[in-house]
Amino acid sequence: MLENAWVIPTLTFVSFWLILFFGKRLPGHGAEIGIGALGLAFVLSCVAVVQWVDRPATEVVPHGTSEEVHGEEEEEHGAAGGQRGEDRQVVATAVETGGHGEETPIRSAVERNVTWFTIGDVEVTAGTAVDGLTVVMLFTVTLISLLVHVFSTNYMHGDVRFTYFFAALSLFTTGMLLLVVSSSTLQALFGWELMGLCSFMLIGHWWEKAENSNAAMKAFLTTRTGDVGLLVGIVTLFFAAGQTFDIALINERALTGAIGHTALVVGAVGLFIGVIGKSAQFPLHTWLPDAMAGPTPVSALIHAATMVVAGVYLVARLYGVFWEAFDIGAGGVNPIAVVGGITVLIAAALAFVQDDIKKVLAYSTVSQLGYMVMALGVGAWTAGIFHLFTHAFFKGLLFLGAGSVSHAVHSFDMKADMGGLRKYMPTTFVTFLIGSVALAGLFPLAGFWSKDEILVGAAENGYPVFELVGIVGAFLTAAYMTRCVYLTFFGEYRGHAHPHESPRPITIPLMVLAVFSVGAGLLNAPGVEKFFEITENRVFLLAGVEHHSFEVFPAVVSTVVVLAAIAFAYLLFFERRLPRGLTRRNALARSGYTLLTNKYYLDHLYTGVIVGSVKGAIARAAYWFNQKVIDGVVNAVGIAARRSGDWTYRHIDQAVVDGAVNGAGFGAEGFGGILRTIQTGRVQQYAALLFGAATVLALGLIIFV
């Protein structure tokens, strides 16, 4: 399966065409093709995972910084198959980053290319490159997509364009899978843009209403603006890496210093702009909350688990380039980490003031993406990918939960139509709770492990500032998730519909995802380290990326922070709505409450200053800033383009250029008019003119010749 990984994207591509042409006529209106194809793809992905796991770790990569590694591979001396540790001999390769130099045999990527086309003397190839990262992504994407398909059969039941929706879902999954398996940057661009197209089609699914198509267009244009950077990046790296699109080659050349530093920086910045656009990082994140206009399964699939993480995947895939360009190993500050950090904070703050459940989740996704980008920025490669892996599950779970809730109350507005739903929708409540707790990062669940590793990574790699940002982010995340859960499931039901538990096709995916949200974390738990082992690959070994396994102290710190956040958020609601808080009899809240009271005086200033200010001024300011300034700028650019288009068209095009052309025409006509007076129609006058001219000519001839 590793060799012909290209089967998986083609599978969904074929299902797209089948649904498009035959979907309408099938009893399930194309849903069964979609689910069948995705099911098969998921199975194949599992096979790929299994094949990858028990693939012998043969390739040996010298562990150290890029400068003194001369680049061509060591020949494989017969390391014992399978077990990785015992017979590693320590090679004293001095490494500035203080990493212990040792030859770690890893699994080599399986690459299979075919020539796509040739221009001049350059042969452009397309093909698949499968390594740990790809396998993990394959597994996640196909699983989430499958669950979303199952979910949408019921959720979208009776929709006017049911078949078209499933066709678009298949096409989208093809795009993501194509990006994930592709071995060349150009082919990755194909997957990247295909996803952009599908997100446009899916966000604008109900395009009868104008704001939906506006949201779709905004999403497409913002990501497209980012793609300008991506295009420039790909082109720069193509030429800098000696006219090749091949990712492995580019990484190799970047790490062995074969690419000039300026070209590398330009390429990396270009790619990162593309990532900012696609993964909704700080300046270009405004489209993601608006993209909630699309149906919820779309939000779950695209705007939580797959498309938005494509940017993070790209950074991880081309990590050699970023590592060298931004000198991540050296600690301190670098653009990726800064952008990631900023996104974490502002998005988390914004999540506070949202009333729409999907908007809260959207801002939380932006914030979590910020986390992953920050992780990659601080050099915690495995942590970032692990967080991506776990986040896909619990965020997918939360979105589907929100879908199930809205399906019941026919609205997304938490304040107006929700509240007290735990009584009516037990399974959705339990799964949603698991999801939010996992997101907050409490001990046994997935979020805890991945977020914790990021904090550890930040600390160890010399990025203390970002560790702090991570902790504050965790605090805020826990707080707004508690608020969201509280508003949705606790208190009295404020809506006027009569909510009931969603039918089986909706609850099954919720339960499956809940299980994953719990279990996924264990994959990289201290003793296991399985995830790290799977995703270990050449690039970050060559670059000398340090992976730091679990440490107790930071874990304790983050847990305390998260618990405090939940308590404060709960306390906050309790305090402000005194009567309502008292009436709530809930074990978790009471224990959090008693914990808080005895530290109350110590923290009064802290909550007053930070929580108060964060919840009050800054959030609203951030929101205002976000809506007015950034959105304002985006709209202003649109309007300015329109107006300058009008102006240039009316003045330059019509007046000047066309004017000159018409002017020539009228000039000729005018001159013609003058000449007309000579045509008197009297033959003799013509004769007179003729002879007169003839004689003058003769005279001229005589005198001059």
């Binding site: 008197t680 129609g681 009297r682 003799q684 007179a688």
Partner: protein, 102 residues
């Protein structure tokens, strides 16, 4: 005899013919003036032919003959046209014939 005698005479007749064509209002008179011009040309032809000696003289005369025949054809058609103008306008005054005015 100087050849110029004949050539200058031809030039005089030619100029008078041109005057006649330009100044006369009556269609027939204009045709007559054209005849004058043609005769001037004939004189030149014959005179220059004679200047060239025997073969030239013959050529001159042959061409003069051709000019005369053409003049005859021309007058025939010219008068037919003048007749038509007369029939349409009851007058041969060329000034009125300016349909082609721009």
């Amino acid at each position: 005899m100087l050849v110029n005698q004949f050539l200058v005479l031809g030039a005089v007749l030619f100029s008078i013919g041109v005057y006649g064509v330009l100044a006369r209002r009556n269609g027939v008179l204009v045709l007559m003036s054209i005849e004058l011009i043609l005769n001037a040309v004939n004189i030149n032809l014959v005179a220059l032919g004679a200047l060239q000696g025997a073969s030239g003289a013959v050529t001159g005369q042959v061409f003069a003959l051709f000019v005369i025949t053409i003049a005859a054809a021309e007058v025939g058609v010219g008068l037919a046209i003048v007749l038509l103008i007369y029939r349409n306008r009851a007058s041969v005054d060329l000034d009125e014939v300016d349909l082609m005015k721009g």
